[in-house]
Symmetry: C2
Subunit: 312 residues, 2 copies
């Protein structure tokens, strides 16, 4: 999938693996908001990634290994993170940036997992330090990262409040064990539970003052998505009063070693839930790669539940 | 020192120590911005503290011990934190909320240490995780906390930039080993040093966007003072781009065990520098307790270097 102001599908030679890299043959590829931003010209590819092929994740079968690869053999099923180049049926990735796909997961479900679950896990567990008994508020809980965060939060022993707009999403998030709140009652409901130890903010600046109001003493707000607004007023006094923290984070432009650390931590903390069926990769819709334009347009609209995938 | 809209000096019975408490006879007491806010009615005393006697710190000699006190004997010189009641010549304090005053420090210098050094140490080391080799920017470096933070930062192996307005303060901070910057060149100078790993913000919201601009990848901005403004615009996008963190903190209303932990950490990390003369409590001016009104007015004006004390 090539991006230069426009999207088009193009034949290119298969990538060759260097050193510790493997080549993965993928049947599906997840689309992410960052891919939309890259297409719009607002978010150049990170250094070392293909400049014109977006896509931040990979799931598939190893078809070639570099000379220094130690963990994988041809035929292994793997999924994980790439800095770019993920929207393709052959993807080159460092062997420490993928982990084994559990047998339970079909290819389609597996393709819905890596970026969503890694981002959610890194944000709420690694960055914000979610602990059992914590109250977690997920704002914008129906997307890929949101549905992953709700599942991880519940399974990690937190009391999870999920803020969404649609009735259908509310029902499905309640099935995951979340208490569903709307924009109107989120702050009051979370405060009556003692306040949020962690807020995962996937919507943006319009929520910031409510997030602070909902925050428990020493609570952490992790900013992962800003689709509804990138800048807003912050009350430093309220932040001090709560002894709160606001954390900005992203996975995309991290250096190799930090990406590897995030993937391995996901493998340790989250993979067991996916392997035994307590957590699920959530697919909203699959578009044939030839209809990538349509997939990107669909991706930009609200109301999805889980991930949008391209099928090759 | 009694506060009920007005200040007045009043005779009261000496406090009696309970359990693990000691009574300290103090020759001097440090004034803090929170005391001014309390006087202005904007900041009620924390629970369990005398409601009408402000003062957040104590330095002096133990004159009475509760029955469960294990660390101290009558005559020991101690300094540390109280939730309130510090502006008095007899102060009751839990034994784990004080540490021993090094022999080198006269009473006046000792009285300038606790709140300033504890706040600075807790903010930049404990909360923000300052490490050797880090770049530290202290905004508003000439006050009690600022002068302490510059000294601690330099002695902990950081490269310290100190932002101040007065020429005299600039000279004295340079003597501590800081690189002095002004409001105009702070961001550019800090960025050319690789960006700030830690920003200690003692001025307030007008600095927030500059702090973010000056921040290194994974940098932390710790908000301790908001005298110049309590609310300002925050770019979530910039925060995410830097993977930065904004931390709100205060010592005053922390629970007992957290105050004890902060005091003991200060005792471990900072006391050796004060004991051997590499760090100094900085006294700007001492007012007789009878002139507390004047001292509070002086305290509210800019241009001080170090602490304002009352003498009993």
């Amino acid at each position: 999938m090539i991006v230069d102001e426009q999207l088009r599908l193009e034949e290119r030679p298969d990538p060759a693996p260097q050193g510790g890299e493997v080549v993965v043959a993928a049947g599906y590829a997840g689309i992410n908001p960052a891919d939309l931003a890259q297409l719009a010209g607002r978010y150049p590819a990170p250094p070392g990634s293909p400049p014109d092929v977006p896509g931040l994740e990979v799931a598939g079968r190893v078809v070639a290994c570099g000379g220094q690869v130690r963990d994988w053999q041809i035929g292994d099923r793997v999924f994980g993170l790439v800095g770019g180049g993920g929207l393709a049926d052959r993807v080159v990735v460092h062997e420490r940036h993928v982990v084994a796909v559990p047998d339970r997961l079909e290819d389609e479900e597996a393709a819905a997992v890596p970026e969503a679950f890694l981002t959610a896990h890194d944000a709420i567990v690694t960055q914000a330090g979610l602990r059992p008994g914590d109250v977690l508020l997920v704002n914008g809980a129906s997307g890929g990262v949101g549905t992953a965060a709700v599942q991880i939060g519940v399974l990690a022993g937190a009391r999870v409040f999920a803020s969404v707009r649609s009735e259908d999403a509310a029902r499905r998030l309640a099935d995951f064990g979340a208490e569903v709140v709307g924009q109107g009652d989120a702050v009051a409901r979370v405060r009556s539970a003692g306040g949020a130890d962690v807020v995962l903010e996937l919507v943006g600046s319009p929520n910031l003052s409510g997030d602070l109001e909902a925050l428990a003493t020493k609570g952490r707000i992790v900013i992962v998505g800003t689709g509804a607004g990138e800048e807003g007023p912050l009350s430093l006094r309220a932040l001090m009063g709560r002894r709160g923290r606001i954390l900005g984070t992203h996975l995309r432009a991290r250096p190799l070693e930090e990406k590897a650390a995030a993937v391995q931590a996901f493998g340790h903390d989250v993979l067991p839930f996916l392997a035994d069926g307590r957590a699920h990769g959530i697919v909203d819709r699959v578009f044939p790669a030839e209809q990538a334009d349509e997939a990107f347009e669909y991706m930009a609209r609200p109301g999805k539940f889980g991930k949008v995938l391209l099928g090759f």
